[in-house]
């Protein structure tokens, strides 16, 4: 099928502001959105810049705004995005500085991630084999462990757009993942971090994050559980 691809481009060495560029591309309906970008880079315009690595929805490098909402370019097929002769648009993730074309500055995103202490804290002596977690206990955090840190959710959140310091769904989901991990012993410190003006209470259950998540994690559900935990825990 023949489609028009519109890409919001920005070259810091040439442009003062972002500009739209259009390409006419021949593609298959079973192609992924990422295939279209690679085709443009390889055959039409080598200066096009975007981030990609594994191209199979594991590394989380190619989150971007596709057709007006955040998606993972390697995890969406053209048949679900555009019709024959239609237009497909690519923009960088909103609420982040654009470094070049579709590449955004992710340092803020990962700072927020580190802020919730995304590691297991358990100071008791390590057992001989492993810190055992039963299947039932793992079930509680199973869905939250599927996060690949692509940033589609955090950058889709109107609270993040309005307040760059808001921790955002990805970091808060990570906090949930450790607070509800039965092996973790330091949930109080983490709860204090998320129970702050820039934390949980800026989640207004808008559900853009759930819509954007390529791993179909019901982020709002787990953030609500974290909210309930935060209000029922005495510090």
């Amino acid at each position: 099928m023949n489609i028009t691809v519109k890409i919001k481009r920005f070259d810091p060495e040439k442009d003062d502001a972002a500009r739209w560029e259009s390409y006419s591309v021949e593609a298959d309906k079973m192609d992924r959105a990422l295939d279209v970008l690679m085709d443009i880079k390889w055959h039409h315009d080598g200066s096009l810049t975007f981030r990609k690595s594994c191209a199979h929805g594991v590394c989380g490098s190619d989150a971007m705004k596709i057709n007006g909402e955040n998606k993972l370019a390697c995890s969406v097929l053209l048949q679900d995005l555009v019709k024959e002769g239609g237009t497909l648009t690519f923009e960088p993730l909103p609420a982040a500085s654009v470094i070049k074309d579709l590449v955004v500055d992710q340092s803020g995103f990962f700072e927020k991630y580190r802020a919730v202490m995304p590691w297991l804290i358990n100071d008791s002596p390590a057992p001989e084999k492993e810190r055992y977690q039963s299947a039932e206990d793992h079930e509680i955090i199973e869905e939250a462990t599927k996060c690949i840190l692509c940033g589609a959710c955090t950058h889709s959140c109107p609270s993040t757009w309005a307040d760059p310091d808001y921790l955002g769904p990805a970091a808060l989901l990570k906090a949930y993942r450790y607070v509800f991990d039965t092996r973790d012993e330091e949930s109080e410190e983490r709860l204090k971090i998320v129970d702050s003006p820039n934390g949980l209470w800026k989640c207004y259950t808008i559900f853009n994050c759930v819509q954007a998540c390529p791993k179909e994690i019901d982020i709002t559900r787990w953030l609500s559980a974290l909210k309930r935990k935060a209000v029922t825990t005495r510090f």
Binding site: W161, A162, F207, V210
Partner: protein, 132 residues
């Protein structure tokens, strides 16, 4: 090459595809602001209670078509804000997040019924006014 890194800075607002959840939130904000606006008008109207003439004048104004339309909109704002508030409570306190879209449309149907029933006197008054 200069060491200064030029970047396109993020904006606090962005064009984004509006799905059920964001639509519900935007309408909740709008109706919330409208209700605050109404509250100011309402309290301002109350101050005339100390003067019978001013009060009667205000009440006759309230029977005018513009206020009947306003009443209708107020009812809509109250119903929506209350029911969506209930939806948010169910999501946050009961964990009904997986059903948020169904919840929105179900409560939307309830809102429509309440709107028609509760709005009937206002519509009737407006129709009477337009006929006379």
């Amino acid at each position: 090459m200069a060491s200064e890194v030029l970047e396109v800075q993020p904006k606090p607002m962005t064009r984004y595809r509006v799905r059920t959840g964001m639509f519900a939130w935007m309408l909740h904000r709008l109706t919330g602001l409208a209700l605050v606006g109404y509250l100011i008008l309402h309290v301002w109207g109350l101050k005339s209670m100390t003067d019978p003439d001013a009060y009667n004048y205000l009440i006759t104004k309230y029977h005018g078509p513009l206020f009947k339309l306003g009443e209708f909109l107020l009812l809509g704002a109250v119903i929506y804000h209350a029911l969506n508030g209930l939806r948010i409570v169910l999501i946050d306190f009961v964990g009904w997040s997986p059903n948020q879209k169904k919840l929105f449309w179900t409560l939307g149907a309830v809102a429509a019924v309440l709107f028609v029933v509760g709005g009937y006197p206002s519509i009737a008054a407006l129709v009477d006014f337009l006929r006379s």
